[in-house]
């Protein structure tokens, strides 16, 4: 192989789910050059989903979060540098600048810096007891805090906030969820599914307040004591978890002159405009399969998928087959599994009875299936993932007549059912 397909040194900024996967994908596909993996955190790469689930509950110890055993990096010839913060990218010199002042040369660069929780734009957001949740250390802080918590306020009814609410209820802590929009999960699912999750939380004793504009967080002695809403209501709470979404860590890229728009803009192979630089994971916005537009997809699957695509592209290999985006969330006994992108749908169907706690909502655009949200209905979810891969999208008529599982079986070779 020549320099074109076999660069001498690949540098990866960000040792998270995407960055780590990318390094091992390069090795799996036979890359023999140097790999340097820079990670701001002191920890070896780990999975984040349990941070608001089993790990927060205290059901799993920290080592079980690791994506690979610590020695796997050295064993695979990946120079993993914990605590190494990149502060700049010098594209002209092909160097990454580190906080230590060191300049590290690259032949190819991957930016996998993830995203960071938005800060609450209200007075009192920096009081003691006001927490965000992104990393291991955040969960450890929240877990400690919950042990003595008498009332928890969750600001933001997104997945992370609702998972934390469910965990706190399991510990018997009174919980109020304050959501600024008219419904929870407004950004990520349909009004019907939002209503179902809101009712689920109410049944478990959570006070869910939508259209809640926070005027300020109040405190005494530097510690939070509650939230004051714009309409004057006062919600008491000694711990506040802020989960109002994340922003892409695209600062390094934009300072280096790479196009960003709420995320580093990359193509389907995770390439930026600079042919030597890839970007992957939560920090990117990119086209997704058959869906129009550019999307920021904050999920494990997306991080892994982009890592595989970038690695293959870097090595001159064919891209993998399209695999629709998917996500999951665990709250109480309910397991949500979502496949596809629901934005832009113009029709929906439900399969199963929402009252039973096991059902799926199917979303269609121009009568074609574009996404499925399945609640404790793994069969519909698994079938949906395969149907969404097929070139001839499943139709509204087919889905009216059949369950997704039946439809998958009936659609031989992905051909529509006559």
């Amino acid at each position: 192989m020549d320099e074109e397909t076999n660069p001498a040194r690949v540098v990866v900024i960000g040792a998270g789910q995407a960055g780590s996967q990318f390094c091992f994908a390069l090795r799996r596909h036979g890359f023999g050059g140097e790999i340097v993996l820079l990670g701001e955190e002191p920890h070896a790469p780990y999975q984040r989903p349990p941070l608001s689930k089993a790990f927060l509950k205290g059901e799993m110890d920290q080592r079980r979060l690791l994506l690979k055993p610590a020695q796997a990096y050295a064993d695979s010839g990946v120079e993993f540098r914990p605590g190494a913060v990149a502060t700049g990218i010098d594209r002209a010199a092909r160097q990454v600048v580190l906080a230590s002042g060191e300049r590290l040369a690259y032949d190819r660069l991957a930016i996998a810096t993830g995203s960071r929780p938005r800060a609450l734009p209200a007075p009192g957001g920096t009081l003691g007891g006001v927490l965000a949740l992104r990393g291991i250390d955040d969960t450890l802080r929240l877990r400690d805090r919950l042990d003595a918590c008498r009332a928890l306020i969750v600001v933001g009814g997104g997945y992370i906030g609702l998972e934390v609410a469910a965990t706190a209820r399991a510990k018997g802590i009174p919980v109020t969820v304050l959501e600024r929009a008219e419904r929870v999960l407004a950004r990520v699912t349909s009004p019907r599914m939002s209503a179902w999750f809101e009712a689920l939380h109410r049944r478990h004793g959570v006070d869910v307040i939508c259209d809640a504009e926070i005027a300020e967080l109040s405190g005494t002695g530097g510690q939070v004591t509650g939230a004051v809403l714009a309409d004057g209501r006062v919600i008491p709470g000694d711990t506040v978890l802020v989960g109002i979404g994340v922003d892409a860590n695209d600062g390094l890229a934009s300072e280096a002159g790479l196009a960003c728009d709420g995320g580093i803009l990359v193509d389907a192979d995770a390439r930026t405009q600079d042919p030597l630089i890839y970007a992957l994971g939560d920090c990117t916005r990119h086209p997704v399969g058959p869906y129009a537009g550019q999307h920021r997809v904050e999920s494990v699957h997306n991080a892994l998928d982009q890592a595989e695509r970038a690695a293959r592209h870097l090595l001159g290999l064919d891209p993998p087959a399209y695999d629709p985006p998917w996500f999951w969330s665990d709250q109480y006994d309910a397991k949500l599994q979502a496949a596809g992108l629901f934005n832009g749908h113009d029709a929906q169907l439900s399969h199963g009875d929402p009252e039973s706690g096991r059902f799926a909502l199917l979303y269609f655009a121009r009568e074609r299936l574009v996404a499925v949200d399945a609640v404790s209905d793994p069969a519909s979810f698994m079938a949906a993932r395969q149907l969404l891969k097929q070139d001839a999208a499943a139709t509204l008529a087919e889905c009216r007549a059949h369950s997704l599982k039946e439809l998958l079986a009936l659609r031989k070779n992905g051909e529509p059912v006559p």
Binding site: Q47, L66, P69, V300, M382
Partner: protein, 106 residues
């Protein structure tokens, strides 16, 4: 000490020691055996931690949850003795077990 043998699709064998409190998936992952994708990290949400057990062991284990059964039902390369490795807690029943991997987890 309980020992297990993981066998990838090419037939490469990796002996690993079981640790109390880990699932079979975690024994593989933390032991550096990386033919198990385990995308959801043990959430029973992805089915990319499928393994094949020996029939006797399969029969001796507690039956699958409905969730696991449904995930496996539509998983690629499913066999009669398939299980999701993240749903199996390791213990004495697995002593000396031979755990085979499908040709792909996708």
């Amino acid at each position: 000490m309980t020992r297990l043998l993981f066998v990838d699709h090419q037939g490469h064998e990796t002996p690993l020691e079981v640790e109390a409190g880990l699932t079979l998936m975690e024994v593989a992952r933390l032991g550096g055996f990386d033919s198990i994708a385990a995308e959801c990290g043990g959430g029973c949400a992805c089915a990319t931690c499928q393994v094949y057990l020996e029939p006797a062991l399969f029969a001796a284990l507690a039956p699958m949850s409905e969730m696991e059964e449904c995930m496996l039902e539509l998983a690629a390369h499913r066999r009669a003795t398939s299980r999701l490795a993240c749903q199996l807690t390791t213990g004495h029943a697995l002593e000396g077990a031979r755990i085979e991997l499908p040709e792909s987890q996708y």
